[in-house]
């Protein structure tokens, strides 16, 4: 089926070339980082994780969100999602690959990456993260490819696919819980030391992932003859609404614990992010933008009349995605390191090389997404659309 990605019109190839160009720029900067070291980034002794790890954190959520279309269809026979389970799975695959790539480029000694497998350390959450991400990738490739291929042939997929699908439904929240555990178990970082870290992660994943899926479904409808269906898109809209409300609620819970207990260790990171601390406030405008956008998004989503309008739903989805990207894909990681263990503040901002490398990885992810979606959409155009149970 790969050959379907090699056929396309001028717009398709233009888009591919654009992505390749962004990837090329990222690669050149990465070669510089590989030879010089991570000093070309904005990371420091105090803020030792930055843009790369925060992108990984955000993208694990996107990858896990595939379960939001798979679960209703396979466990509850929600027929409307029949056409788009493949879109969910084929979004998860590039998302997981991007996650692994972001971890790889963040490592100081990437050539030693196999040490994680050669010297397994079950007490380390990062070891588990590598294992579960790899497993999830394999699951999604197997399930996505075989169900699509079966659909192409017009038959039901082999019987061994169903148990793997059920496994992937359980696996998806697990990968994001493990990622949350990276943060939630560190004794010295009070911003992250919260029991609801995993819950917050899942809530924001299940809001931002389906929001992206809505946008992708609308794009697919616009540029191809395959229509994911108004009902599926509306269902996704409802999912985004409920999880966005949950997400904002959870953030409120964190604020309460911090500012009612008035324990300085709990408050200080929030103060830094939303008000500035001791004259340092680089992230304040960003965090307020995220909050305002979140409220705006909820305002658009909560009213069915607005949600039913697909243009407004698209605007709301973009708003959700951007708001949650700022919160999870930037503020969360940086905030945990400010102030440092000595209660001093070192601020962080990505450098141009760092941002270019990150964009290069995103471009690579979008390239994979484009290829996979091209294949899926072409098959669906030819076969009539429905995955067979």
């Amino acid at each position: 089926m790969l050959e379907k990605a090699l056929v396309g019109d001028r717009r398709y190839w233009g888009w591919i070339c654009f992505l390749l160009a962004v990837m090329g720029v990222g690669l050149i900067f990465y070669l510089r980082q590989f030879s010089f070291g991570l000093g070309i980034t904005g990371m420091s002794r105090d803020v030792s994780w930055g843009l790369y790890i925060s992108q990984f954190t955000f993208l694990v959520g996107i990858a896990a969100s595939g379960v939001m279309v798979v679960l209703p269809y396979y466990l509850h026979d929600y027929k409307a999602f029949g056409k788009i389970t493949i879109l969910g799975e084929f979004l998860a695959i590039p998302a997981v690959i991007m996650c692994m790539l972001f971890i790889f480029i963040d490592m100081g000694q990437p050539t030693r990456v196999l040490n994680v497998l050669l010297h397994p350390s079950p007490s380390s959450v990062m070891f588990f993260d590598m294992v579960v991400l790899a497993g999830y990738l394999v699951l999604n490739i197997l399930v996505g490819w075989t169900t699509l291929h079966a659909e192409k042939k017009g038959i039901a997929p082999a019987s061994w696919v169903k148990p793997l699908i059920i496994l992937s439904i359980a696996w998806a929240p697990s990968i994001h819980t493990v990622t949350a555990f990276l943060y939630a178990g560190l004794p010295g970082r009070h911003f992250w030391l919260s029991a609801i870290m995993a819950a917050r992660f899942l809530a924001s994943a299940f809001a931002s992932g389906p929001a992206l899926l809505i946008l992708l479904a609308l794009i697919v409808r616009k540029f191809s003859k395959f229509d994911p269906g108004k009902e599926a898109i509306q269902a996704l809209g409802r999912i985004v609404t409920y999880f966005m409300l949950t997400n904002v609620f959870f953030l409120g819970l964190e604020f309460f614990t911090a500012f009612y207990s008035k324990i300085p260790g709990h408050m200080m990171s929030f103060e830094y992010l939303y008000m500035g601390l001791e004259g340092h406030g680089k992230l304040v405008p960003l965090m307020w933008a995220s909050s305002i956008l979140s409220v705006l998004a909820i305002g658009l989503l909560v009213f069915p009349q607005i949600r039913k309008n697909e243009t407004l739903l698209a605007i709301a989805s973009v708003t959700v995605f951007v708001a949650l990207w700022i919160d999870k894909g930037f503020g969360l990681v940086v905030g945990g390191f400010v102030p440092n263990p000595f209660e001093r503040i070192t601020e962080y901002w990505p450098t141009i090389p760092e941002a270019s490398i990150a964009l290069g990885v995103w471009a690579f992810g979008f390239l994979l997404l484009t290829i996979l979606y091209k294949i899926a959409v072409t098959v669906k155009e030819e076969s009539g659309g429905e995955a067979i149970h």
Binding site: W49, Q109, S124, L186, G265, P341, R344
Partner: protein
């Protein structure tokens, strides 16, 4: 022979998987040393859990601090990056209010002799170290023989999870090649390279040949070193006779560096 493309690809893929699996088995290297071929140096200092007791009242002049910091950084080839963002430090000074922030959040009623006093800080070689727990390769590990939280520079992949986990900010990362920042190198100890994390390793190379840590030696008695599990060691005596505090004890990491407060020399 009728084999179609699909079958050919399946066989090729399967064979390469087997081939890769076979070669990867060879990666699991077995040691060629017999157990009897490695021994401890007979001069080695033996202890079950090494600890430091620091009497900060004995650090009075700038030189008192400099001596201790410089000897460590010199013999261990610690680079002088000169930039607080990416600096590498194994032992350094921080003011009292920053070392023990939970003691005085409003910083108003601190005893005069302690107000803004520089304290020496280093890796605490915790008994329950979170950095060891999180390391995905066991590049940082707690040595069973003596409790030192060690670094294996050969294995570190530079993921910096340990730096996030350490509640004491004791670890530094090599954001670039440290060698240009080394004015003179101690030829008896390696440097590090870019992309690995480093920290105080309690002078394990000196302990192995019967010498106490360099910082303790240079402190002229202000720092004491010994085995916490030995009731007759100097550190145990000091802990019995003096009120000591450790950094962030509420986190339960069980640090092994104790600071004497209200020592007999406190002016």
């Amino acid at each position: 022979m009728g084999i179609n493309r699909r079958q050919f690809l399946k066989i090729a893929g399967f064979s390469s998987l087997i081939g890769l699996g076979g070669t990867s088995a060879s990666l699991l290297r077995k040691s060629i040393l017999e157990a009897s071929q490695e021994e401890q140096d007979p001069r080695a200092l033996l202890g079950k859990r090494w600890a430091l007791v620091i009497d900060m009242s004995k650090f009075k002049t700038e030189d008192d601090y400099r001596r201790v910091i410089d000897v460590c950084h010199r013999i261990h080839n610690v680079p002088d990056i000169g930039n607080p963002k990416s600096e590498v430090k194994w032992i350094w000074k921080e003011e009292y209010e920053n070392v023990f922030p939970s003691q005085d959040f409003d910083n108003q009623y601190v005893e005069e002799s302690l107000k803004n006093k520089p304290f020496l800080v280093l890796c605490n070689h915790c008994d329950n170290p979170p950095c060891v727990r999180v390391c995905p390769t066991k590049a940082t590990f707690k040595r069973k023989s003596d409790g030192i939280v060690m670094m294996d520079m050969h294995r570190c992949i530079g993921c910096r999870f340990c730096m996030a986990a350490c509640p004491f900010g004791a670890r530094s990362f090599n954001f670039q090649d440290p060698r240009p920042f080394l004015k003179e190198m101690n030829p008896e100890f390696p440097t590090r390279t870019k992309g690995v994390v480093e920290k105080c390793t309690l002078c394990y190379e000196r302990l192995a040949i019967g010498l106490i840590p360099a910082c303790v030696e240079a402190s002229n008695g202000a720092m004491a070193f010994g085995d916490l599990k030995d009731p007759n060691s100097e550190v145990r005596k000091l802990l019995r006779d003096n009120y000591t505090i450790r950094r962030k004890p509420e986190l339960g990491t069980l640090p092994s560096v104790f600071y004497i407060i209200g020592g007999k020399n406190n002016a």
